[in-house]
Amino acid sequence: MIFENYTFEYPYAFLILILFYLCLKFCKAKGISFYFPNLALLQQASRKSMLLINSLKFLTILFLIIALASPIKEDNVVVRNDKGYEISLILDASGSMQEANKFNIVKDIVTDFVNKRENDRLGLSIFADFAYVAIPLTYDKNSIKRLLSKIDVGIAGRQRTALNEALFLSSNLFKTSKSKNKIAILLTDGMDNTNTIPLKVAIKTAKKYGIKVYTIGVGSVGDFNPAVLKEISSQTNAKFFHANTIQGLKDIYSTINKLEKSEIKADKYVKKTYFYQYFLAFALLFFLAYFYIVNKE
């Protein structure tokens, strides 16, 4: 529907309409009052102009009241960034993730997770041969989901796993962040083998910005290095998870979702577009027309 987002800011203003009617009935202006013969004929003669004048009067009042009720178009947009969570999703897109359709399963689960974090800013980083930030922190869930559906294994190369670099890069996303709750969720099925950035530096960067880095190891223990992942998570006051089933992975994300429960809902900022000025303008027009007709001769 077109008018779905249209609403009135102060709908109680419409009560004035009742007041107007009551006033019209009971508190008439004491004008000049006298007898006039053959009033029925005069009524007939003045019906049209009375209709015009009265409808102009009514329209003026109506539009003024509409303007007072302040018609707005509401768009739900969250802009306040000092209280909500900021979550950076770091996904391993190395060649090994293609095995057993792992990457697609991860994508589905992450999409689901994105849907659940309604009021948070999310970012997305991908790593394989190198790491890159696919989407910086944003409230725009739709573009994250759209991008998630498009990325695939091999998008950042296939051979290696730039885990430390990814952590480092995505930590840097929080550089300008004012949020108190900064979270990174790092999902991998391998070990860092690029040596571009030392692990220590990566962890230090994460700690510097106060980011809790949840780490998730996918697959069997030999594939990834639990010690490194544990190290990362414990150093940043977060947790390490490990899953080798789809359900397990789902559980991990829902656990994280629960652990970092977003409490803020009232901080939703509603973007309002005001329309009262048009009604005000029309009310003014009607009023002028009313004046013109009444004072015409």
Partner: protein, 276 residues
């Protein structure tokens, strides 16, 4: 009020005694001595009046027609409705009173029998038929003082009333403003009827310009009106249509009709209307 009644009386008397109206206000046919014409016999004519010479000449029954010279019955009916309490120059009720005074005194002077009737939807005040100046004076006073507001005229009721109490042929002056459903046909067949329409210029063309709370004097309902020039013009046009219909009705039933405005010279206007 007392002074006003006196003033009206004096004015009416002066008008009547200074002007020779003639002893006859009408040309009713009757059983007088003055021969008027010969006409064909019709059912109901008095066989005494058959003109045998004329009958023999034409082989048709002919009767003589004589002018009425008897004492006339003059009914002066004041139709009382709220709308009479209106006027820009003078109140319509006052004008009606002046007419009543003129008619009353002139009928008294001519030794005709006056039947004053004040009628709204019922007979308001009962009067004996009179020649007497003092009673006419009282009638004039009553006409000035009677409360018009909240009353409406029932014309057919009036006709019935007249027909029941008046069996003789008479001259009937109906004084009012003739709004609404006017039908005087019931009394027009047997009588000589004069409809005297008392109007004000303002009520025919209410160029008031502005917002007014107007009260219907007949019912006391009030409404707000914005009266502009176009409304006034439209009203004037509608009223003219209404009055044309009224005139047509009077013409059809051979009722003499005249309009007297509140700013007219009433005596001259009345003469004009009565003499045709």
């Amino acid at each position: 009020m007392y002074d006003k009644a006196k003033e009206i009386t004096i004015k009416a008397k002066r008008n009547i005694f200074n002007t020779n109206i003639g002893s006859q206000l009408t040309s009713l046919k009757g059983e007088g001595l003055d021969f008027k014409e010969i006409k064909e016999y019709a059912y109901g004519d008095n066989i005494k009046n058959i003109n045998w010479k004329a009958t023999a000449k034409s082989n048709d029954l002919k009767v003589n027609v004589f002018d009425e010279t008897r004492q006339l019955n003059i009914i002066v009916a004041f139709m009382i409705s709220g709308s009479m309490k209106f006027g820009s120059v003078k109140i319509k009720q006052d004008i009606a009173t002046e007419i009543i005074a003129l008619l009353g005194f002139s009928s008294a002077r001519n030794k005709n029998l006056l039947f004053p009737i004040f009628y709204s939807n019922k007979n308001e005040i009962l009067y004996e038929p009179t020649f007497d100046d003092s009673i006419i004076y009282k009638v004039v006073k009553d006409a000035l003082e009677i409360e018009c507001v909240k009353k409406d005229v029932d014309y057919s009721g009036f006709c019935e009333y007249v027909n029941t109490f008046m069996k003789q042929r008479s001259i009937i002056f109906v004084i009012g403003d003739f709004y609404g459903n006017v039908d005087l046909s019931q009394i027009s067949y047997n009588n000589d009827v004069y409809a005297l329409n008392v109007r004000d210029r303002l009520e025919e063309y209410p160029l008031l310009n502005g917002e007014y709370d107007l009260v219907n004097p007949n019912t006391f309902e009030n409404n707000e009106f914005y009266i502009t020039k176009s409304v006034a013009n439209k009203y004037k046009k509608l009223l003219e249509e209404q009055d044309n219909k009224l005139e047509e009705h009077f013409l059809q039933h051979q009722i003499t009709y005249g309009k007297i405005y509140t700013d007219d010279d009433i005596f001259l206007k009345l003469l004009q209307i009565i003499k045709g």
